[in-house]
Symmetry: C2
Subunit: 408 residues, 2 copies
């Protein structure tokens, strides 16, 4: 209220009205999500479009800012954590081989396509390599959310997608490291090797020994703690500890969050699980809206730029489907298609690559806008494609408390 | 990891390591909270001291920043929301009269004490008035948390504390408006009257008609929504809508959050309640740690400043107990003491007043540090005092799903 501006200033020392931002982002996300459900589209398409609507592209009510960015990071960490809670380490080990093939297929083709299209459009070699790297990065959050909400995480193809996305993160990291190194004229192979070693090591250790270690540690810690909600405190601590470890190892924090969920699967009380789901349900809209917020439609007004954006988007969708699908060909056409479609969304990861190129001065603002368009586009297109690819699959809402049936 | 600094930079464009900050704040808070429980102190004392420990006062690992500030604001909003969910509007109406007396007593004495001590110490009139205003502001979050965790919210004295704290917020606002106006040499009585009118109006409307309106609206909205977790979406939307309304009316956003809980009490599914509790459990440590983070012990090295801080802290504790206790005298000595102690914590509200004075240039940095010390001190002292004042009271963990027994 304008009547007492000095009090308003005291209440909100930042140029940011917290309740208003929360209400707008959460409210519009849920509203458009509801609308999408009625149009037989997954709700999260509406939540991403909510970000486009209230962001700089259309209404300009909310601009991206560090607070919203951090909330979005928290949202995708909690999302991957709860997804991990529905997955068993043994299941992941079983699909390691095929997932590596899928990830590799999903790296080579998209990189070549991105590099080729930009080169053809007359961009420099470094910019073309960055576009290729942006096309490599898969954002597992979107697919994981769709599969979780549809009760399809138990399927073998879903497991392969999850593991392939983690491996994709490591491969994408190597590609990005090489590309960044080339753009600076210095390529430190020792550093790249070290990061690869640490990130693979963390993954293997967590999968191999994490669950057993937690099965011993959690009951002891729980027993020795007198605080109520001990389980939830354990969950949050493990979640951020592994996210931090993953970040130190050089991969994305969400890989650690996912592993935290995997090693804690089946060990937390039902109440702690519901608490974690509550935090997730609150924070995930900020992740989804945040993706839409980054889009700046205005930058694509030039017809040539728009055409490039469209071509890049099409290539991004097709090359992942084909590349990952080829990697999964031996599981039959249906599963290959499902896995390929599952790897399509680039989401926040593609944006981070473009952002890095912009910061290094090798990606122009217009190429940045094009890459963000590609990232948002793949993310909006993927959920309906997923719903179509997985049509007819039986939904099973896994109870993470119970020991899970083994699905081969 | 230093090996790939450009990737670390891409992952964290802010000068802020999100998983590390989350792990440190949440982990140390829970650790010291556990320690306090073993020392027979309420856990939240440890969580506030965790902020003192890792903040600028001792280790300097984490400094207050806008992101943590916003998380802390969210934490206290969710806290008051879940407290509101355990309270019925009818109960609040019943204690309106006595609560007004309590609030009034808790405004007059502390203001006079703060003003008197500062005047005696040689400070100017404006600074003295600001210190008085800082002593007025009660932070209901701390008491609410203690009473909620101890299952004592059902007691009449607890209800009186909650309503008195809301009225205290309105009165404190008027005091602060007058003091700020005087310090600028302009006192707009019309604006102050308007704000008072709007804030009281919001409170009365919510208490009188809110629950009934929600009892009609919620089932309809729930029925017409196809999204899963519709109840939780409703809860979050109402929470931030009322917080925003309260802010527009001129009072703190947490008053709106509390009213949102009150009007939704008994209307949400058990799952939505557990979700809200999960978000609360995640965010409240950031509120508590945030209080401790603001303390700068170093500024109190000067003996005269330290003495002033001690005297102000003592006065802050005693004048609330006596002032509010006198207002509640007719309920007998035990309840008067409980209510008086319940109003002691100044927490974040006292800090906001000091911050405003600092911004206006009428509060010196050293007086700012003294006021923050007073605010943190009352907040650390109150929970053990509360535990002592409420000793022997039977704990009843209210199930907010069930209709609550009426306690006169």
């Amino acid at each position: 209220m304008d009547a007492l501006p000095y009090l308003a200033a005291a209440d909100a020392p930042r140029d940011f009205n917290l309740p208003l931002a929360m209400l707008l982002i959460f409210g519009v996300a849920k509203l458009l999500g509801e609308l999408c459900i009625r149009l037989h589209l997954p709700a999260l398409v509406g939540e991403i479009l909510a970000g486009v609507l209230i962001g700089p592209s259309v209404l300009g009510w909310i601009a991206p800012n560090p607070f919203l960015h951090s909330l979005s990071d928290l949202g995708v960490m909690f999302l991957l954590f709860t997804v991990g809670l529905e997955v068993r380490a043994a299941e992941l080990k079983r699909v390691g081989g095929p997932a590596t093939l899928v990830a590799a297929g999903g790296v080579v083709l998209p990189f070549l396509a991105g590099w080729g299209i930009l080169t053809f459009s007359g961009a420099g070699q470094t910019a073309a390599c960055f576009a290729g790297a942006a096309l490599v990065a898969t954002s597992v959050g979107i697919t994981a959310q769709v599969l979780q909400k549809s009760g399809l995480l138990y399927l073998r193809s879903s497991r392969i997608i999850l593991v392939a996305a983690v491996i994709d993160d490591i491969l994408g990291l190597i590609v990005l490291a090489v590309v960044s190194g080339l753009s600076r004229g210095q390529l430190n192979l020792w550093d790249i090797g070290l990061t690869t070693f640490f990130s693979i090591g963390l993954f293997v250790l967590a999968i191999q020994y994490g669950s057993r270690a937690m099965a011993r540690a959690v009951p002891r810690v729980r027993k020795s703690m007198q605080a109520a909600e001990a389980d939830f405190a354990i969950a949050i601590t493990v979640l951020f500890a592994l996210a931090l470890l993953a970040q130190y190892a050089g991969v994305a924090a969400i890989v650690g969050a996912f592993l935290a969920g995997v090693v804690l699967a089946g060990q937390l009380s039902g109440r702690a699980l519901d608490f974690a789901r509550g935090a997730t349900e609150l924070l995930v809209p900020f992740f989804l809206v945040g993706i839409g917020l980054n889009l700046e439609i205005g930058a694509l007004r030039d017809p040539a730029t728009l055409l490039l954006a469209m071509v890049l988007l099409l290539a991004a969708v097709l090359t992942k489907i084909v590349g990952c699908g080829l990697g999964a060909w031996r599981f039959g056409r249906q599963d290959a298609l499902r896995i390929g479609v599952g790897m399509v969304p680039r989401g926040e990861v593609g944006m981070v690559v473009a952002q890095l190129g912009l910061t290094l001065g090798v990606v122009s603002p217009s190429l940045y806008a094009v890459t963000v368009f590609m990232a948002v586009g793949t993310t909006v297109v993927a959920p309906p494609l997923l719903a179509w690819a997985f049509r007819g699959a039986e939904a099973r809402h896994v109870d993470p408390d119970a020991e899970m049936p083994s699905i081969g």
